[in-house]
Symmetry: C2
Subunit: 173 residues, 2 copies
Amino acid sequence: MVQQKALDLIDKSGIFITKEEREKIVVADFGLSNIYEEGVQILTFFETDRIAGKLLVLLPNQTEPEHWHPSSGNNPGKQEIVRALWGNLRFYLSGKDNMKEGFIPKGKEKYYTLRHEIIMKPGDQLVFDSETRHWFQSGQEGAVLYSFSTTVRDTLDKFTDPNVVRVTKIIED
Amino acid sequence: MVQQKALDLIDKSGIFITKEEREKIVVADFGLSNIYEEGVQILTFFETDRIAGKLLVLLPNQTEPEHWHPSSGNNPGKQEIVRALWGNLRFYLSGKDNMKEGFIPKGKEKYYTLRHEIIMKPGDQLVFDSETRHWFQSGQEGAVLYSFSTTVRDTLDKFTDPNVVRVTKIIED
């Protein structure tokens, strides 16, 4: 099952998580029903009304769909810091098309508009302010990364793919 | 030297840090000039104007002095989440005196007023809102912990010990 595959990658990464945390990995398929191609596995370490820390796991060749965290009115929106921990990780942002290692999920060309590729090695970090469109993908080994952010408002997130349903669901395969 | 001792503990903890990060461990002695008793070693992973993530290292039997992060006016002050990663760690908060494993640094009884002890195992987490007075200490092995927080305003921090100088200095021994 998907959760177990995510746990295996977490164990390979060497990061310690508690027994309770091992039971609460969430699988998000974004309503697209093709989890091994588009989706992400999430372990929330903490989440308050001001700050959150999560561990994200990508299975081999899995892609998190292109999205951004909007600001609204006086609210500056979500700022996110990602830190690569283990495996192969490619991030895509706006900028010159230099895509080399990654690929667009089959038939989804119009929902992945960003082609500026950043290869992230363990310890590499990126900071995204709100409104910054991004997507990311792992290579053959999969990837484990940290995501730290200001207040999480997942239901406000915007996705390029109109088929995305931003309800995190726990699925079994 | 102190930085090297901190690196040795980070390596024991198994967490990966980059080569560049290995060079930028900061030793904070709080102006007390007794680093092996009172102080902390800090590696800042990231720090923006909204959010920060740090790795804190306590040498064996080292104590971080009692302090709190004040709020001011409309600013809600710093919220901090600590997550124990490795070693022996004791946190002290206000509450019933149940102090058992820890000790007050010699001659400093009046600067450590909190005696409610929480033993933190790896993966254990605590959330402090601003104004929450706290101090922490490691046991014989030392300790490595994460500290995540909203905006850092170290110069506003308040310490029970009036001798503390809140300027982080890099010292050599």
